[in-house]
């Protein structure tokens, strides 16, 4: 029986690269790790519900947003990292929920990211990659939904893959980010009622 978590995750003789795991359990979000923000009157709060994790909820003003991120402390590689997240949106319509490995949490101007894209302008879930000057959308063929799902983003030297429930559904080979990255989760409404995103798990690691 292997005695250590280290040995379960790292080959003998190798130095572990940066990794973190967040289980979104307990009374309060770990604000030593995460920064949060809302636009208008949203909330970022632990959920009192079965498998509820944390709830990012917008207010009831169009354009309202809720977001968590690492406040631009970026320890993950654009050419060798992965993010696994379990998430669930509450309502499909008018719900702009996205999960990123992003260089800058605050702006889409000259953005660099890999984005799990749930937006009303696409019937299906997309993978979007941005390199600071352009972007590439790759359709997963999987319709947007409001079920809990396991998402995995993997950034490699010349591609970015998105897996949904363990199956690779989209691969982008253009407009790949080149700058260091952090996890970012956001939800936004474009109507006058709240939209939300629940997260129960997030793991990011360099490969």
């Amino acid at each position: 029986m292997t005695k250590s978590i280290y040995d379960q995750l790292n080959a003998s003789g190798t130095v572990s690269k940066q990794r973190f795991v967040e289980t979104f359990s307990g009374d309060a979000l770990d604000t030593d790790r995460w920064s949060s923000e809302v636009v208008t009157t949203g909330t970022v709060a632990m959920s009192d519900s079965l498998n509820g994790g944390i709830n990012l909820a917008t207010g009831t003003t169009s354009g309202g947003r809720a977001k968590i991120h690492f406040n631009n402390i970026r320890q993950y590689s654009p050419t060798g990292s992965a993010m696994i997240a379990v998430a669930q949106r509450n309502i499909d319509a008018n719900n702009y929920s996205e999960m990123f490995l992003a260089n800058d949490y605050s702006s889409s101007v000259n953005a660099q990211w890999a984005d799990i894209y749930h937006r009303p302008d696409s019937t299906n879930i997309r993978l979007q990659t941005r390199d600071g000057s352009g972007y590439n959308n790759t359709d997963t063929g999987v319709a947007r939904h409001i079920n809990s799902m396991a998402y995995k983003l993997e950034l490699k030297s010349a591609s970015c893959e998105l897996s949904l429930d363990g199956v690779v559904k989209a691969i982008s080979t253009s407009s790949l980010p080149t700058a260091k990255l952090q996890p970012v989760f956001r939800t936004e409404t474009d109507t006058t009622s709240s939209r939300s995103l629940n997260l129960t798990y997030c793991e990011v690691y360099n490969t």
Binding site: T2, I5, D7, Q8, L9, N10, A11, S12, T14, R19, V21, T23, F24, S25, G26, D27, A28, D30, T31, M46, S47, D48, S49, L50, N51, G52, G53, A82, I84, V86, S148, M149, A150, K152, S163, D165, G166, V167, T200, Y201, E203, Y205, T207
Partner: protein, 206 residues
């Protein structure tokens, strides 16, 4: 290397992971995921001691209870609780497990060491209570408590240090409520100070 990710240690990526957390109780202060539900000045202090974890201290007629402030992502009747546990006081009522309400026995599933009784007990409740008395005497040693709540299989199994406790299975009054991990300590017969230590807690829905 056995696994590429922590996720895949317990779930394939083809399975959506249910809520699962673990806590090492290491560092300068107790993590803010935990909330004090006690009374009369309880304390929750990290132990400056090898394998010390965190120490809950109750005083007088009060009690020390820590939980998740009623943030309840777990299914009391369909989840597994693992916790380490060491009680230190001669007159003590100390518990570890799942509860819907940290200060109520209703809709809970937890292990009890009560100096008013001889043996370790498993208490569970869905509005009606079941008390299961094991054949294991209470003690003051570190012990690993595992409670496997399986409403679908109509059983709750208490294991101590990796072994299913003799007379440690309950089959009635299994809760369907949501819950949170709770550690609690107070006096059993006469008001006075009690302490309880833990250095690990893990809960996951099954």
């Amino acid at each position: 290397m056995a696994f590429p990710s922590v996720y895949e240690m317990t779930n394939p990526l083809t399975t959506v992971r249910k809520q699962h957390f673990w806590e090492y109780f290491s560092g300068a202060t107790l993590n803010s995921r935990w909330t004090d539900h006690g009374a009369s000045g309880p304390t929750y202090v990290m132990n400056d001691e090898v394998n010390g974890g965190v120490r809950l201290t109750s005083s007088g007629a009060g009690y020390a209870i820590m939980g998740f402030n009623n943030k309840r992502p777990f299914d009391v009747g369909q989840c597994t609780f693992i916790g380490t546990f060491r009680r230190n006081s001669d007159d003590q009522y100390a518990t570890a497990g799942l509860r819907n309400n940290p200060v109520s026995s209703s809709n809970g599933s937890y292990m009890l060491m009560d100096t008013g009784a001889s043996n370790i007990q498993l208490l569970n409740n869905n509005g009606s209570a079941t008390t299961t008395v094991t054949t294991t005497p209470i003690h003051k040693n570190w012990t690993t408590v595992k409670i496997e709540n399986d409403r679908a299989g109509t059983s709750i199994k208490l294991s101590l240090d990796g072994v299913l406790a003799s007379n440690g299975t309950s089959t009635t009054n299994i809760s369907s409520a949501v819950g949170q991990p709770v550690f609690a300590t107070l006096y059993s017969s006469s008001a006075g100070t009690t302490t309880l230590d833990t250095n690990y807690c893990e809960v996951f829905n099954t």
